[in-house]
């Protein structure tokens, strides 16, 4: 399917405007205020929670696990390899290379 220019602009505007609001509103609203201890603690936990949720969203596939266990387990194995590379190298690029390579190899093998 191909996308028309008009459709593209509708899509673009509809996702861009909320994105700008999401990006700018909290930082402007909260800056310059003393946050209560509990809130600033919660804010400190956001990075770990956000990345865990992003990873989980890509790895946890209950529907696929039931229908086709192999293809649901594949990303888990590749993710374990990436985690080892991440702990060893702390390098984004090596993680991407290791991730895509191991995913590709596993896809070929299974």
């Amino acid at each position: 399917m191909s996308m028309g220019v008009n459709e593209f602009f509708i899509l673009w505007l509809c996702i861009l405007v909320p994105m700008i609001v999401f990006r700018c509103l909290p930082i402007l609203a909260l800056k310059g205020r003393e946050l209560p201890e509990r809130v600033s603690r919660a804010v400190g936990l956001i990075p770990a929670a956000a990345f865990a949720a992003l990873v989980a969203n890509d790895l946890v596939q209950p529907a696929t696990l039931v229908a086709d266990p192999r293809s649901a387990l594949l990303p888990l194995v590749a993710a374990a390899i990436v985690a080892v590379v991440a702990a060893k190298t702390k390098s984004l690029i090596w993680c991407v290379v290791a991730g895509m390579a191991s995913y590709g190899v596993l896809m070929y093998l299974l």
Binding site: M3, I27, V43, A86, K90
Partner: protein, 271 residues
């Protein structure tokens, strides 16, 4: 930075397959600028989803930026409104992880002199004046760089930045350079798009790998671990309930709640 280019190329190839032209890709990447969001658009369009459903899903997934924005706010207490906006406009998953890391490092360096205030933000703001000069040497060199030379400058920046605390200026420059690298890579990917065909799952796993790396880089503590467990449980629960499109947001919130609960429990045990 280089990882942006790799993933960006992959995203471009995919976007082209879904019917976006290279110029559309450039516009989308430079403004909307969200790897995860853009990776969602292509498969949904390919699968024939209607425009409103694509828009709704992308907006829901974008809500996580609310959390990032909130997390940065303590560091921007004494930064001007215009600068804060300039920074906030170009925050995305990866740059959030990297910059948060640098900011946290800077505030750690400051805590020695600031006698355990617990308000790391004050540390950053106090370091700002002295840091301006550093940003000029570190970030200033990179600022006028043409996109073509971006990669070299940036990899330099990252290698010595590991030991250097970051200022808001450095962060703004980094954000914009990353955005340019991303936008150009996606456009380049879209231009060669039709010549290459790689499975969508493989390409988006590059994105997953980045998130794993950023997650592994988080401080190792019980609170973090509780966060991770909570987030995974939250995502699983959301998906089982059929709320897949808000799984990231609900998972992240569940993670924060679990982390807070753990810390509260740890504290009461100590008391």
């Amino acid at each position: 930075m280089l990882s942006y280019v790799v993933i960006g190329l992959a995203c471009g190839v995919m976007s082209a397959a879904s019917g976006l032209t290279p110029l559309m890709c450039l516009l989308l990447s430079a403004t909307f600028y969200s790897g995860a969001g853009q990776f969602m658009i292509a498969p949904m369009l390919l699968a024939g989803s209607s425009l409103p459903s694509v828009i709704a899903s992308v907006i829901l997934v974008s809500t996580r930026q609310l959390l990032y924005s909130a997390a940065f706010s303590p560091y921007f207490k004494r930064v001007s409104r215009a600068k804060t906006l300039l920074f906030a406009l170009f925050v995305t998953d990866e740059s959030f992880g990297i910059i948060m890391d640098k900011f946290a490092q800077s505030s750690l360096d400051q805590t020695g002199s600031l006698a355990a205030s617990g308000k790391s933000a004050a540390g950053i703001a106090a370091g700002q004046g002295a840091g301006e000069a550093m940003a000029k040497t570190g970030g200033g060199g990179a600022a006028p760089a043409e996109p073509a030379t971006t990669e070299r400058t940036e990899s330099d920046g990252v290698s010595h930045a590991a030991s250097t605390p970051w200022t808001v200026n450095t962060a703004i420059v980094t954000n914009i350079l990353c955005m340019l690298a991303w936008a150009l890579a996606v456009m380049a990917g879209a231009m060669v798009g039709s010549a290459v065909s790689l499975p969508v799952a493989l390409m988006s796993f590059g994105m997953t790998s980045i998130f794993i790396c950023l997650l592994v880089g988080q401080p190792r503590s019980g609170g973090t671990l509780a966060c991770v467990v909570g987030a995974f449980a939250g995502v699983l629960a959301s998906k089982l309930a059929g709320w897949g499109s808000v799984a990231i947001l609900l998972g992240a919130i569940a993670g924060v709640v679990a982390g807070l609960a753990y810390e509260a429990a740890a504290e009461s045990r100590r008391a």
